[in-house]
C-alpha cells in the first residue's frame, strides 16, 4: 500500500590491517558513506540518499555492515561504495574496501542470506585452517550450526536467526 520502501545493502569491510575492523563504528562509517556520496553525486545525491539512510547493523569482528537507504536512490548509494578506500579512526587511516554481498528489501532477507553466507565461510575457514586447536574450534562451530539448521527447519527465522548467526561466528 502506501509505505516507504527501503533497500538494505549487506556489505563486508575487507582490509589487510586487522585493526581496521575493530575500529568500526556505526556513526563513523555512516558519515564516511555520506561524504563519499556527496563527493560522487553532489548535493543532489547527498540530499536524496541521506533521508532514509542509516547503518542498521555492524559487526566489528566479522566486518559485516548493513546499510539502509530508500528504494528510489539505492543505486546512488551502491555506486558510491567502491569509492570508499580508507577508514579513519583517531587520526589513523586504514586502507580497506567495502564488498557488497547482498541487496535485500527487508532486514529478514538479509539475515537469511547472512546465515547461509556465514555457514559457507566457516567451511572455507575449515579448509584453510593450519592450527589444530583452531581446527577443532571451527569444527565444533560447524557441527553446532548444522544442528541448529536441522532444528529450525521450516520455522521462520526471526530472533533465533540472529542468535544462530552469533553462534556461527564464534
Amino acid at each position: 500500500m502506501v509505505r516507504f520502501k527501503h533497500r538494505y545493502l549487506l556489505c563486508e569491510v575487507v582490509s589487510d590491517d586487522p585493526r581496521c575492523r575493530l575500529s568500526l563504528e556505526d556513526r563513523v562509517l555512516g558519515n564516511l558513506v555520506r561524504d563519499t556520496i556527496a563527493r560522487l553525486h553532489g548535493t543532489f545525491g547527498a540530499a536524496a540518499c541521506s533521508i532514509g539512510f542509516a547503518v542498521r547493523y555492524l559487526n566489528a569482528y566479522t566486518g559485516i555492515v548493513l546499510l539502509r537507504c530508500r528504494k528510489e536512490f539505492y543505486q546512488l548509494v551502491w555506486s558510491a561504495l567502491p569509492f570508499i578506500t580508507y577508514l579513519e579512526n583517531k587520526g589513523h587511516r586504514y586502507p580497506c574496501f567495502l564488498n557488497t554481498l547482498h541487496v535485500g528489501g527487508t532486514i529478514r532477507t538479509c539475515q537469511k542470506f547472512l546465515i547461509q553466507y556465514n555457514r559457507r565461510q566457516l567451511l572455507i575457514l575449515l579448509q584453510n585452517c593450519t592450527d589444530e586447536g583452531e581446527r577443532e574450534a571451527i569444527q565444533k562451530s560447524v557441527t553446532r550450526s548444522c544442528l541448529l539448521e536441522e532444528e529450525s527447519g521450516e520455522e521462520e527465522l526471526s530472533d533465533s536467526g540472529g542468535e544462530e548467526a552469533a553462534e556461527a561466528m564464534e
Binding site: I37, A38, R39, L40, H41, G42, T43, F44, G45, S79
Partner: protein, 124 residues
Amino acid sequence: MPAPATTYERIVYKNPSEHHYMKVCLEFQDCGVGLNTAQFKQLLVSALKDLFGEVDAALPLDILTYEERTSSAILRICSSGLVKLWSSLTLLGSYKGKKCAFRVIQVSPFLLALSGNSRELVLD
C-alpha cells in the same frame, strides 16, 4: 455495403538525436567581467560538479562556439544529461564571488534550429 478495410501504418518517430544543443548566455550583475573559453568551460563543469557530483561532472559536454564579448555560447550535451546540465546552470549563482546568472536562449536536438530564433526576429 461495408467500406473497404483501410490499412493504417503507425510510424513512431522517437528522437534519434543523441545530443542536445543549447544556446546560453552568461550575465553578470556588474559589468566588466570577462571569461575566456577555458574559464567558461571550467565554470560549467564546476556547476555540474556542485549539484550532481564528480560522476556527472564528467558528462561529455562540448562548447561549440563561444563569444567572449557577449559571453554567449552554444553547448552540446548528450541527451541523457540535458536535464542535469540545465538544472545545474539554473542553480549556479556566482563566479569567483561575483553574482551571475545563465540565460538559456534556445534548446534543440538539432543544431540547425539554433541558427534562427523567432524571438529575435525583427519585423520591419
